[in-house]
């Protein structure tokens, strides 16, 4: 009797107690991550949407304050086909034989890769469509770069930024890899050099920019005796377009090579020594050891660090701003500096439009890189 009663009391108590605790358990996960989600929404998503609206508006001042007037796609129209087209995209001129040859080679490469995928074993319809889209966009970009650089045209801020990214990240990677390969060996002083090679990354970008401004001043400053000795005291780096761009790129390479260096060094130091022993036993040369053993092993780290640097490099602003204010003319002006310059005179709609164009470009490059390169590399590893 008592057992039946106790069973019945337990059976009565369990149904209302268990659903509440189970419900709490079910929602515990979302509740715990909610603060982080709210922070991301507040500091990332909402500002992103707000700046999207700003890019579709124009600021005007009136009695009592300022207001945003919706203008649709007018800010984007000005950049792509309107009054700011040559500033943003560049001045295109008829193609020259050199530019035609370069474009032909690039397009041939794209076609080869596309056909190889289309005939390959792992092809899919979605993959093919995606690759066609990437090739079309990349081909348009290649044409813009060739038609503004390799002709009598003039690159706009979009092309200048692409040049910075392509050259800087490429040189940074090669330099960092070389330094990492040196430091990973058991050479005297390698600990000292490991620290020294990291120092540029610790300096604020504005400080680096002022440093390079001093260094490139051939008429005065710490390097003046060197310039004068070689008869270069009258040469101005920053009065010629490519001289000024070179100064910006050297500064950027100097500052950010340490970042790639430290990542690659960590990757190299984690490689198992047995692989090298096996290569030695098999009679591999140093180059073969590097190309067949070392490089494939550090590809995952390479792909990650290159992706990070690619994304960061698109935002370059400090060096061109401090070194040349985007000059001579607009020769060194990056997209971010372009946006900043017009923001200063109240054109916040135009500035936001440039920022969104930069977002589209970075997203395209990032996604393409992730899908076409990084996945394959990670799978190989």
């Amino acid at each position: 009797m008592s057992g039946e009663a106790s069973t019945r009391s337990v059976a009565v108590a369990a149904p209302w107690r268990r659903p509440l605790s189970a419900r709490l358990d079910r929602f515990a996960g979302p509740v715990f991550i909610m603060p982080a989600v709210l922070v991301i929404l507040a500091f990332s998503i909402f500002p992103l949407l707000a700046s999207l609206y700003v890019s579709l508006s124009r600021l005007s001042l009136s009695a009592g304050g300022a207001q945003l007037n919706f203008v649709g796609l007018d800010n984007y129209r000005k950049l792509l086909v309107g009054i700011d087209r040559t500033h943003f995209l560049g001045l295109t001129e008829p193609l020259t034989p050199v530019s035609v040859a370069v474009l032909a080679a690039v397009y041939a490469g794209f076609a080869y890769l596309l056909v190889r995928y289309a005939r390959g074993p792992g092809r899919t319809a979605v993959g093919l469509v995606g690759r066609v889209v990437v090739v079309v966009v990349a081909a348009a970009g290649a044409w813009l770069v060739a038609d503004t650089i390799l002709t009598t045209g003039r690159p706009g801020t979009l092309v200048v930024t692409i040049i910075y990214v392509g050259v800087d990240v490429g040189v940074q990677y090669l330099l960092a890899l070389g330094l990492a390969l040196l430091v990973v060996q058991r050479l005297p002083g390698r600990r000292f050099f490991r620290v020294v090679f990291l120092l540029p990354m610790m300096i604020t970008p504005v400080g680096v920019a002022y440093l390079f401004r001093m260094l490139t001043d051939t008429s005065k400053g710490p390097l003046y005796p060197l310039w004068a000795h070689f008869g270069l005291a009258d040469v101005s780096w920053v009065s010629s377009p490519w001289g000024a761009r070179l100064a910006v790129m050297i500064g950027d390479v100097w500052q950010w090579t340490p970042f790639i260096f430290i990542v690659l060094l960590a990757a190299l130091e984690s490689l198992p020594v047995e692989l090298y022993e096996a290569a030695v036993v098999d009679g591999a040369s140093r180059w073969q050891t590097f190309w067949e053993v070392t490089f494939p092993q550090i590809l995952p780290a390479t792909s990650t660090v290159v992706l990070i640097r690619l994304i960061e490099a698109f935002k370059i602003v400090d060096l061109p701003n401090i070194l040349t204010n985007g000059g001579p003319g607009t020769a060194t002006e990056s997209l971010t500096l372009h946006a900043y310059t017009i923001w200063r005179s109240l054109d916040i709609g135009g500035s936001a439009a440039i920022a969104y164009m930069l977002l589209f470009v970075v997203t395209f490059v990032g996604l393409t890189y992730m899908n076409l390169f990084r996945r394959r590399v990670t799978a190989m590893a």
């Binding site: 300022a66 101005s236 920053v238 985007g326 003319g329 310059t341 017009i342 109240l346």
Partner: protein
Amino acid sequence: MSRNLGRALVSLAGAGLLIGACTLGGTTTSSGRFSGVTLRVVTFTGPQIAEPLQRRAPDFQKATGAKVQVITVPMSDLYQKILTDFATKTNSYDAMVFDPQWMGDYVPAGYLEDLTDRVKKDSSLQWNDIAPFFRDFSATYKGHVYTVPLDGDFQMAYYRKDLLQRDGLKPPATWQDYIDIARRYQGKDLNGDGKPDFGSCVAMKRSAQSYWMFLSAAAAYLQSQGTSQGAFFNTANMQPLMSNQGAAAALDVYKQISQLGPPDQLNNDVGDSRGAFVSGRCALSIDWGDIGTLAIDKSQSTVEDKVGAVILPGSKRVVDRSTGALVDCDSKLCPNAVNGVNHAPFAAFGGWSGAINKAKPQNVKDAAFAFLSYMSAPAQSGEDVTLGRTGFNPYRTSQFTNLGPWEKAGMSQQAAKDYLGAIEASLKSPNMVLDLRVPQSASYEGTSLDTALAQFLAGELTADQTMKQITDQWNQKTDEIGRSSQLDAYKASLNVTR
């Protein structure tokens, strides 16, 4: 034992920190009519302009009890910083020392305190001692006073008196004279150090203050009939005056000057050009009044008493606005010509001035006005305008007539007469050019004009392309804001009462 000692040390350190925190935040509160008020005044990084404000703040605090914090931002960001502070109603600045051109944006939006009654009642300010141009134009918008002038801005030409006298040359009267003199001295050693120097040093860096140098040249070709004719737009239809033979001639002058200076001239700002001139490396320069006072600064100048100043060079040919063609001056076209030369001294920028945030409490506004009045009062400003490091140039009648402070600062009597004479000649000219004062003047000048000029000097644009780009961008901006309202604002800015 060691634990007790540790506890005692920690307690002592904590007490020390607490006492330090209590005393660090403020100085001993002084009695005064603004005791307890902290003023936040924003201006550009400088060191000019900010220096005298920071230097005199402690004295002001002793006298009135109000503490002054001077916040500085880069020149290129100042307009946006102040406007954002107003427009977002953050109101973190109580007063601002800024470019009075920007009143065209700040006043219609209701951000600035009307100071008309205050300046009349404040006897220590000595309002009537301020030169009429700075009282009536720089400080005023549509008949009301909104700023307290702290600085007088006119561009002039500077020359090495010793070189020109040695070679029997006269100071440049026209822009062609300027180019000829610069060409003569380009590549010669001008300061005895064995290195070749430069004919002319002018700031031409992008996104800095260079476009005013171009406008100084252009003014002589574009305006000849007096101040109210204006030099930027046609007063009938607000069409830009940047696409005619006069503008083309000015671009040609600007380009030639760019090739007669240091190799890095396209990347040189006013700090670079001034430094080069006072270290004896340049025969000529174009600048505000700063070179005059920097030249007597013994810590950096090697050209004391070797510097002459003259009204901006002019032109014997000016634009006929009905045709856009450049024609010879005659009595009808150039009624203000001197010896057949049309001079159009350019009041570039208008002179750094102080204004007050209208949204602040009354006691804060009173304290802010008292500080600006203190800075502008003859006792303080009379000294500050003689010091090159302040960036303040003469703007009061007493500063022109009383040579004592100038001689005390190190200028010889003759040098002071030359320097002040050049400023006075500019001030008194009936054909002086007023700087652009319409809504979003920063966009017209600082973005469109500045970018196009930088591209022109770099060879990215031809003269015709430059003129077209400036004209198109100015027209686009005018249409965006409203052509009718912009025209009204432009015409109102030209109605100067003297």
